[in-house]
Structure formats: structure tokens, C-alpha cells
Amino acid sequence: MPAGSQATDGDIVRAVLAGDRERYAQLVERYRDRYARYAARMLGSVDAAEDAVQDAFVRAFDQLAQCKEPDKFVGWFFLILRNRCFAERRRNRTSASLDAANDVAAADRADGGAENAESRRALQRALMELTPDQREVFVLKHVEGLSYSEIAERLSTSVPSLKMRMHRAYDRLREQLRDHT
């Protein structure tokens, strides 16, 4: 069985299930950053996102035997992370907006684009006022750059229902941004 970085996800999942626990680190290394930005924008904080990604990988390890298609590990893992993000937002709604604004401000400083900091901060705060469903479709389309059909496939839903969510999100963002300017 391949042990190097060329091993497929299925190879690694099967090796871990057979008792080679340390191979799991290869899966974590391979996918830890893929959804880092999604989690950070959903939760409004890079620190909270890092905890969520870590927790999702631990949960995925616990439930690995239930991964019916090991070669599609990453899609299965995304749904675990998504559930974790939604649960986290239900638990902790209050501090995230401020964290979100701070994270965005930090990114702006790093980019040297300080003049955009306030407008980006305002949008990030407004994003945190959306429902998690609305925020998710906005993040997947306008941050991650996925098409509606790709999002629909990932979330097992329909394009018209995603568009409905997104169009409500546009209106709410406009309202939030007008209220804060």
C-alpha cells in the first residue's frame, strides 16, 4: 500500500482503519488548509476556525468507519466541518462579529491596504448578521469562488434554493451596510 504523498485518500483511510493511526496525519496535512478560509469566514475568527477544523478532524477520525466512500473523504469531511461551524455559531453568536472585524483588519494591515480596512470590516460584520445558511452560500460563492452547481452538489441541494438564499443575503447585506454608514 502506498505510504507516500501519492497515496489516495482511500489508501490512507483504509490504512488508518487497519490500525496505522499515524497515517491520518497525511490526510490532515492534505486538507487542513482547503477549508480554513471557509471556516474562518463562517465563524468570523481564525482562532475559532482553527479549533473547528481541529475538532472536525478528530470527529472524522472517530467516525472514519462510517466514511462509505473513502476516496471521497474530503467531501465527507467537509460536511463534518460544516456541522461543527453551524453548531459553533449557535453556541457563540455574540463575540464573533468583533473577532471577524479584527481578523479582517489584521489581513488588511498585512496586505498594506489599510484604506480598505473599514469597508471590509463593515462587510464582515454584516456577513455575521446573516443566517448561517445565507452566510454559507455567500462564502462558498464569493469567497471560495464556487459556482451554484458546485455548491448544490456539495450541499446536496438545488440551484434555485441556493439562489433564493443568496438573493435574500444580498438584500440583508445591503440593509446592514446602509444602517452602518
Binding site: 497525511q26 478560509r37 478532524f57 498585512a110 471590509r120 462587510l123 464582515q124 440583508r172
Partner: protein, 178 residues
């Protein structure tokens, strides 16, 4: 339609289905406002290098908690834990303590330790590889030390099994108190 709602054509613009030039003249200003909204979106990528070590350390800690009879062999595979070694004979000096640093880094080609005890020199203290586990055993003076693992000579990784402090330059240093 309320005053906050974008016109359906402007929503199509935001969806990328049409361009600003496709909008009728009376909707151009609203279209520009909508595009400015998208221009504010923060798309900076986010990287989480410490997550690998944190996940493997969490799994290892839990395994050791649930299977204490496996403690001894588990030490060899411990992920990013600092293990205190009890000396077989009395220590030569009460002010020196022997400590083992352990990191699971299956894809690393080289791991070293940089800290206050070696003037933050990433070449001074290489870790030795045994499978996926990298270790270094040091005898350090009692007191507080700060350190980080340096993976492949470039990536500074705090020890997820130890408390950390901000180094004032945007990185986290692990803290070891002996």
C-alpha cells in the same frame, strides 16, 4: 420591493449572470453599488500549519487516557508532547532538568528546535527521526524557556502540547517552565 432590496437584474449581476453594461441605464448606479459590495469581500487565504500536530496530539492524548496499560509504548508515538524524564540516578545538579521534546511530523524532511536555550538558532538542535516521530532530549537549567519547532528549515511551529505566548512579531512561542 423594499428600499433595501436590490432589483432582480442587479442580483443577476451579483451572481455573475450579466454584466454592468447589460443593465438599463436607470439601474447602473444600483449595479455599481452592488459591485462595490463584492469588492469588499475578504478573500485572503488562511493557513493552519499547527492543526496537523494538534489533531495528532489530541488523538494520542485520548488514546493514552483510555488505554493506560499502553502508556509505555505510547510514549514512542506521542504527538507533540513534552515528556519529563525521571533520571535513573540523582541529578548532577538540582538546577538541571532533562526534557524530551517530541513531534509527529510524517512529511517533514528535517525538524529542529529553536529557543531561548540555544539563542533561537534553528541549526543548533536538530531532532532525530524514528518513523513519523521526531525527538530531541535536552538537559536545561530550571526556569522558564520559550521555543518552537522549525520544520524543513522554514516553518516555525509552536508545540500544541504546551502553553504559548505571543512573541510580539505575530508568531506564537511555546513556553516550558522547569
Amino acid at each position: 420591493m423594499s428600499e433595501h432590496e436590490f432589483h432582480p437584474l442587479v442580483k443577476q449581476l451579483l451572481d455573475g449572470d450579466i454584466t454592468l453594461a447589460d443593465l438599463p441605464a436607470e439601474l447602473r448606479a444600483e449595479g455599481e453599488e452592488a459591485l462595490q459590495l463584492l469588492a469588499r469581500v475578504e478573500r485572503t487565504s488562511v493557513s493552519m500549519p499547527a492543526v496537523t500536530w494538534r489533531v495528532m496530539a489530541a488523538l494520542e492524548r485520548r488514546r493514552r487516557r483510555f488505554m493506560p496499560w499502553l502508556l509505555a509504548p505510547a510514549l514512542a508515538a506521542a504527538a507533540a508532547l513534552i515528556l519529563w524524564l525521571r533520571p535513573a540516578s540523582p541529578p548532577p545538579s538540582a538546577s538541571l532538568v532533562t526534557v524530551r521534546f517530541v513531534l509527529v511530523a510524517p512529511e517533514a524532511r528535517q525538524v529542529s528546535l529553536a529557543g531561548t536555550f540555544n539563542q533561537w538558532n534553528p541549526q543548533a538542535t536538530p531532532l532525530i527521526r524514528a518513523g513519523n516521530v521526531w525527538t530531541a532530549t535536552l538537559t536545561l537549567p530550571a526556569g522558564q524557556h520559550q521555543y518552537a519547532f522549525v520544520v524543513d528549515g522554514a516553518r516555525w511551529v509552536p508545540d500544541p502540547g504546551a502553553p504559548a505566548v505571543d512573541d510580539g512579531f505575530g508568531r506564537r512561542n511555546s513556553v516550558l517552565t522547569l
